[in-house]
């Protein structure tokens, strides 16, 4: 078992029984992408000072993020991902323009949501490194049409029904577990009201930072901007974020293909040893 296989298992879930149906095949295909991009990451990370790593490691990391989130989305909302996958086979699928059915970071993973009016929250309260942030409340509007129902994996509604309850279940499980994984401890150190910031804000920031690696800066040499230290750090941060998101999916019955917690714990240790330390 390699760390990239572990990453695949955590994000795309347990292997499906044979014979595989269309859904299982799709999860398998996403899993293969997670594993492949993970291997590229592993290869570049082994030689972070090389020129090609400074060009391609950020790209591979962003692809790991995208493929991993697609895997999680497919376990939460199969029809959304299957629609995108099957639409690609349609004769009217036009490769030259962005298609409405394609998966997108903005919309499928994160969405812009109305925050509480700023004047209802004191600046100090809102902006503290120690005091937890003011929780944002999900709206369950009875008048909202079905096409407007937020389906993104990091919507406020998902935090209410998936991420926050999963985080609480995970914290309670950790008390009884023997694992000393650092990624577990970091997750447990999060206050419940920090869970959204941890995934949405941190994830979006990371995604944007990695995208800068795809749209290069011309003032400074590439290898100075994405030098070895920065690449190793970006790798640790990205794989940590993906792994920690995936851990929580195994503490919610909303996500298909969950794996037992002992096996999940073994995967996390393996990933930590290769990518994070």
């Amino acid at each position: 078992m390699s760390a990239t296989t572990s990453l695949r298992a955590l994000t795309c879930g347990a292997a499906m029984p044979e014979p595989l149906d269309e859904y299982s095949k799709m999860l398998n295909a996403i899993g293969t992408q997670v594993e492949d991009y993970g291997e590229f990451v592993s290869g570049f990370k082994a030689r972070p000072s090389e020129k090609d790593s400074s060009y391609f490691l950020p790209l591979a990391l962003r692809s790991v993020m995208e493929a991993s989130c697609s895997g999680v989305l497919a376990r939460i909302d199969p029809i959304r991902v299957m629609y995108a996958a099957k639409a690609q086979l349609s004769p009217s699928y036009d490769k030259t323009v962005q298609q409405g059915s394609s998966l997108k970071w903005d919309g499928d993973m994160v969405i812009k949501e109305k925050e509480k009016p700023a004047d209802s929250v004191g600046a100090t309260e809102k902006n503290s490194s120690t005091a937890p942030p003011i929780p944002l409340i999900a709206s369950w509007d009875p008048k909202l049409g079905r096409e407007k129902i937020p389906r993104a994996i990091f919507s406020l509604n998902m935090y209410e029904v998936l991420w926050n309850p999963a985080h609480a279940r995970f914290t309670d499980w950790l008390v009884t577990s023997n694992s000393d994984a650092v990624l577990f401890r970091e997750l447990a150190a999060l206050h419940p009201t920090q869970v959204r910031d941890f995934f949405t804000v941190k994830g979006s920031k990371l995604y944007s930072e990695l995208s800068k690696g795809i749209h290069p800066e011309f003032i400074v040499r590439r290898q100075a901007e994405f030098d070895a230290q920065t690449l190793v750090e970006l790798t640790a941060r990205t794989i940590s974020w993906v792994t920690q998101m995936a851990i929580l999916t195994h503490f919610s019955s909303i996500c298909n293909a969950g794996i037992d917690h002992a096996t999940m714990s073994g995967h996390v240790k393996l990933i930590e040893g290769v990518f994070i330390q």
Partner: protein
């Protein structure tokens, strides 16, 4: 440097920024956990390094700075301690001007060192010009820039913190990363700086559950006190004792050094009774005086020191009764006592290990580990037995007591109204406040206090503003004494 000289120096030097370059490398050890933090400090991207007094923030920043200078030709870095009085006193444009000039000078000095004097950095006095000058420098050198700001935010001066974080955000860019050391309890980041969006916050927490915890503290003990381990009685394993002391001080490096200094006193072999005495002394001579020392520099939060003490007494009484080393406190109390709990975290009485754990009788709350020195002080017999040593040294998942939501244990603690504005008390304190004491072990002697008062320095503020030349002209103030005076002022004024 011989091992005896190293040991002598190690006893005296408690703060990384007071270390000579030569000694820094000898005394400071970095575990895998610290290496990860150093990596974040050298990589691109804004970072806030959060940790209590003596947690090792400065050492990590200095080490990161040294490594960038030694190992990387793609980074231009500068380490700046922000221990300057005008940064505490000024606000608005005055603060901005002083800060920008300080950064400009530091970059010029660093540039001259790194490029053999063929270096020019424009001296600027506002954030916009500084941002542009830094981008121009990065472009000219074809390097990215890392600025490490130590002592960036003072708990007692929230306005200054707000000014700092505005500038931190302004000058950060794709080519310039700012890293700043802050304390638990720093909450005012100003209106423009979003702490979750504009920086990665790293909390230093050397957790006793970490792999290699004992070995790490053993390596520090060996580096600083080469002969100490040899004095342990045969029934005590040196690595376990180092790990136990590490757990005693909740992973805090300054308190660990203090504990080793205590243990080193005397010539006798070191057994459990010496270890017990070390812990009891640590509680009486280090932890409680630290709260007294910190009070006059907390500004408007100074009235919270008394309730913090009361809360600490309740926590330690509960843990002492149940002989447990951690406590889960229902979140209702944590919301009411958030600032006092931050003060206790800053001073090293407690350290948060999990943010939200289920209590047996319902509800959730954070779990805090408590320091074992104050715990032993309230434990029946105040003596470490083999059994207690083993019990406290080993990590046990069930080793906690609980404060439920309907508990009355905190009923007697009341939180006073805080004044709107409040200057730092320490500036108006008489210089006798800096006399040698438990809070200031390297404080001023009565004779020196007399000399200073005769010269017209009556308050700590007046003394802090005096120039080196002015002080050198006084009788009994040689260069070595001046360094000592500056160190005591720094301890008194800065966090």
């Amino acid at each position: 440097m011989s091992s005896v000289q190293i040991e002598e120096q190690a006893e005296l030097v408690l703060a990384a920024e007071e270390c000579s370059d030569e000694l820094f490398g000898v005394l400071h050890k970095f575990s895998r956990y610290e290496e990860k933090i150093i990596r974040s400090l050298t990589a691109h991207g804004p970072v806030l390094l959060r940790g209590g007094r003596g947690s090792g923030k400065s050492a990590l920043m200095i080490e990161a700075s040294n490594r960038m200078k030694m190992e990387s030709n793609g980074i231009f870095s500068a380490y700046l301690s922000l221990r300057y009085l005008p940064l505490l006193r000024e606000t608005g444009l005055q603060y901005e001007r002083f800060f920008c000039q300080l950064v400009s000078h530091a970059i010029q000095a660093q540039g001259q060192l790194q490029t053999n004097n063929e270096f020019y950095f424009e001296q600027v006095d506002n954030g916009g010009d500084l941002q542009q000058a830094l981008i121009d420098l990065a472009s000219k050198l074809e390097r990215r820039i890392v600025l490490l700001f130590d002592d960036a935010a003072h708990l007692g001066r929230e306005n200054a913190s707000s000014e700092f974080f505005d500038l931190f955000r302004s000058i950060s860019s794709r080519l310039v990363s700012c890293k700043a050391a802050i304390y638990p309890g720093v909450t005012n980041f100003g209106k423009r700086f979003d702490v979750y969006n504009d920086a990665t916050v790293i909390s230093i927490a050397r957790d006793e559950r970490t792999d290699g915890f004992d070995e790490f503290f053993y390596s520090v003990m060996v580096a600083r006190y080469g002969t100490l381990a040899n004095r342990l009685v045969s029934s005590l394993n040196a690595s376990e004792v180092a790990g136990f002391l590490g757990k005693t001080v909740l992973g805090n490096m300054r308190a660990f050094v203090f504990a080793c200094n205590k243990l080193k006193e005397g010539e006798a072999s070191i057994g459990l009774s010496e270890l017990s005495k070390c812990l009891v002394d640590l509680s009486a001579d280090y932890y409680w005086p630290l709260l007294e020392e910190v009070a006059p520099k907390l500004g408007r939060y100074e009235p919270l020191v008394e309730p913090s003490k009361e809360i600490a007494e309740v926590i330690f009484a509960l843990c002492g009764e149940s002989r447990t080393t951690s406590i889960i406190i229902h979140r209702k109390f944590c919301q009411n006592f958030s600032k006092p709990l931050e003060i206790l975290e800053y001073a090293g009485f407690i350290s948060k290990r999990e943010a939200s754990r289920a209590l047996k009788k319902g509800g959730r709350g954070p779990r805090f580990s408590v320091n074992l020195a104050n715990l032993l002080e309230v434990t029946s017999g105040r003596r470490l037995t083999q059994e207690l040593f083993r019990q406290w040294h080993e990590y046990d998942r069930e080793d906690f007591t609980e404060v439920n939501s309907n508990s009355a244990v905190f009923d007697s603690v009341s939180i006073p109204e805080l004044p709107e504005k409040f200057d730092l008390d320490i500036f108006s304190s008489p210089i006798e406040a800096l006399a040698k004491s438990l809070a200031y072990p390297y404080g001023l002697t009565p004779r020196r206090i007399e000399v200073l008062k005769e010269a017209g320095y009556h308050s700590v503020g007046q003394l802090a503003e005096a120039s080196d030349d002015e002080l050198r002209q006084l009788p009994l103030i040689a260069d070595a004494t001046l360094t000592k005076i500056r160190a005591v002022i720094a301890q008194a004024v800065w966090m």
